[in-house]
């Protein structure tokens, strides 16, 4: 069984899917990612699928699951690099990918994470202050 490597760059975990994965490998990747998010405290996950030729309902569900899991650990997931033919097929298959964030490429995906990260900081400052009004004075 193929095991997909997970790279850590700063506080982002990066996964690049380069081979046609069997279902077991998809499940293993999901578990490995959950483990790494919790053990590293990473704030972002980028899944690069620019080399992926098809996304069916099994791997599509994995993206959605990873997105939900990462949210439980206060991290965001972005799927980047989806090929146009894959996007067209997904729509016809009926897979909406729900709350999974997507970006055109790795660079834009990292920008999305930075933006979400900045939002998170503001949220924390506001949350942690007893008198939120003064936080901005």
């Amino acid at each position: 069984m193929e095991r997909v490597p997970i790279l850590k760059i700063g506080d982002v975990l990066l996964v690049s899917i380069q081979v046609d994965l069997e279902d077991q490998s998809v499940v293993a990747l999901q578990e490995d990612l959950a483990e790494r998010i919790s053990s590293t405290g990473a704030h972002g996950v980028v899944i690069d699928i620019s080399a992926v030729e098809i996304v069916d309902s099994f791997i599509g569900r994995m993206f959605a699951t990873i997105a939900s899991i990462s949210r439980l650990f206060d991290a965001d997931t972005v799927v980047v690099g989806m090929r146009p033919a894959v996007a067209i097929t997904l729509v016809e298959l009926g897979l909406t990918l729900g709350e999974v964030r997507t970006a055109l490429d790795l660079e834009k995906g990292l920008a999305v994470l930075r933006r979400l990260g900045a939002d998170r900081e503001v949220r924390i400052e506001v949350d942690e202050d007893d008198e939120p009004v003064q936080a901005f004075s």
């Binding site: 069997e22 098809i54 309902s57 099994f58 569900r61 067209i88």
Partner: protein
């Protein structure tokens, strides 16, 4: 009328990695039949869903994949054959989002949308055969 155009192969579907092999064979035939990239992607995605159903619900079986031709064009036809429990309520099984297992319930309905011809025969206690065809334009 359609007639065989040469290539034909039968693959077993017994394990996860057999599903990968089915995807690869269908992709290679779709390229040989000169399907567009989008049509290749749609067909491979549909057959991935059907092969997984054969494995998960049919208890395994075979995929029979061939390049077909009529007077105007070539295409790829793939049959997924199992001797599993069959499908008691076919209409229900085709409902978007309905699954008897842990899936997303998009395999059958989605696969039907992704191909040009779709045929399902099933008998409770005897098994299920799904045949799909995608034509070049």
């Amino acid at each position: 009328m359609t007639s065989p155009a040469g290539e034909r192969k039968e693959l077993p579907i017994r394990r996860d990695d057999d599903v990968v092999r089915v995807r690869q064979l269908v992709r290679s035939y779709a390229q040989q039949a000169k399907l567009s990239l989008v049509d290749q992607t749609k067909l491979v995605t549909a057959t991935s869903e059907l092969a997984r159903n054969t494995l998960t619900y049919g208890g395994g079986g075979v995929a029979d994949v061939e390049i077909v031709a009529d007077t105007r064009r070539r295409g790829v036809r793939a049959s997924f054959i199992d001797e599993g429990p069959g499908i008691a309520d076919v209409e229900l099984a085709f409902t978007d989002g309905w699954t008897s297992g842990k899936g997303l319930g998009l395999g059958l309905s989605g696969a039907r949308r992704l191909v040009d011809e779709f045929n399902l025969t099933t008998e409770v206690g005897r098994g299920t055969t799904v045949t799909v065809t995608k034509w070049g334009r």
